[in-house]
Symmetry: C2
Subunit: 204 residues, 2 copies
């Protein structure tokens, strides 16, 4: 990838997560990237085109981050799911714009006014959920669950909790409330798959 | 409340939930409200001041909506909590901008750049959660729960799920995914308070 294009995409991740998509100007992005405006329009025909590329770039770099995470080595698929949740919790560090989600932020603003951005953000979220779904489906088989919910719906629910936890973190200025919500998500999945284990440990 | 001020606040609810806070201009709000720009600045010194007033107005009208909802009549506080969740699910109807949350949308954009908006949105979310917390705390007492989580954290978690469910609805253009996430939230609370009831009904 040309250096200027990469710098602009990295700038988009930082600036849009700090001030939102609509408030971010092409000038903001050029200043943060340290590139000239002509260079911006050489690589992207518009701010909207940059946003779509940034959503795809976000899918790519977060995909690599999660692919390299340690939880995949667990033999039990439920341990992989719980390891994924623990990994998500471990990412709730630093300043709020650093741990919150580019595509959740952009789709919140642009879902109605800009279908290409909505679709790129939607593909990023559902594509990530599909990886969680695979481990959930394997865990349902392993634990003999035949519930009235699907692995897909539970995988999407994990993403709803995370996206909502980010909003609470933004509203309170603290990662702690997001971490507590992720703890509730973990407890729910444990209760679904091992309903007696938490009782034994005195959790409920 | 003067008619123009009320029209502008109602316009803010509709326009900001459709296109986001930053993308909404004073002209957009005046056009949607059918009031002149001079009238806007008679009532609000800036778009930011309107947003803070709109967050407070949102707290007021949603507060009245929930206060009048039928779930409060249940004698068992757990039934009030589950009734609240069912009521939230029933609100997931119509077009996405009609059922999603003004303050969750605004705080997503303005949390870092506009502290007065962040604080008004935060107060709206945590104030609403406090009402759920009261019923959760009563249910914990009634069911003899002494868990390692608090009624406050579970109440905030209900709001995280709802806010995240709205983002999934925006990403997919459908209320169905949000409703499925609310179903998972309901199931979690049932498992926490009545861990055997869902087993009997074959839910897990």
């Amino acid at each position: 990838m040309p250096a200027a294009r990469q710098k602009l995409l990295n700038a988009a991740l930082a600036v849009i997560r700090t001030k939102g998509y609509s408030a971010t100007t092409v000038d903001d992005l050029c200043a943060a990237a340290g590139v000239a405006k002509g260079s911006f329009f050489h690589h992207f025909k518009s701010k909207e085109a940059l946003a779509v590329a940034a959503a795809d770039y976000w899918s790519e770099i977060t995909g690599a981050l999660f692919a390299a995470a340690p939880y995949h080595t667990h033999a039990d698929p439920l341990d992989r799911v719980l390891g994924y949740i623990d990994f998500r919790k471990s990412l709730l560090a630093g300043k709020v714009p650093e741990f919150t989600c580019l595509v959740g932020t952009m789709v919140q603003e642009a879902f109605e006014t800009c279908p290409p951005i909505r679709d790129a953000c939607g593909a990023s979220i559902t594509g990530h959920a599909a990886k969680v779904e695979a481990d959930l489906a394997a865990a349902m088989t392993r634990y003999g669950l035949r519930p009235d919910w699907t692995a897909e719906s539970l995988a999407l629910h994990t993403q709803a909790v995370l996206q909502g936890a980010f909003i609470l973190a933004k509203a309170t200025g603290s990662a702690a409330v997001a971490a507590a919500s992720v703890d509730h998500l973990r407890r729910y999945i444990e209760l679904l798959f091992k309903p007696t284990s938490l009782k034994k440990r005195g959790h409920t």
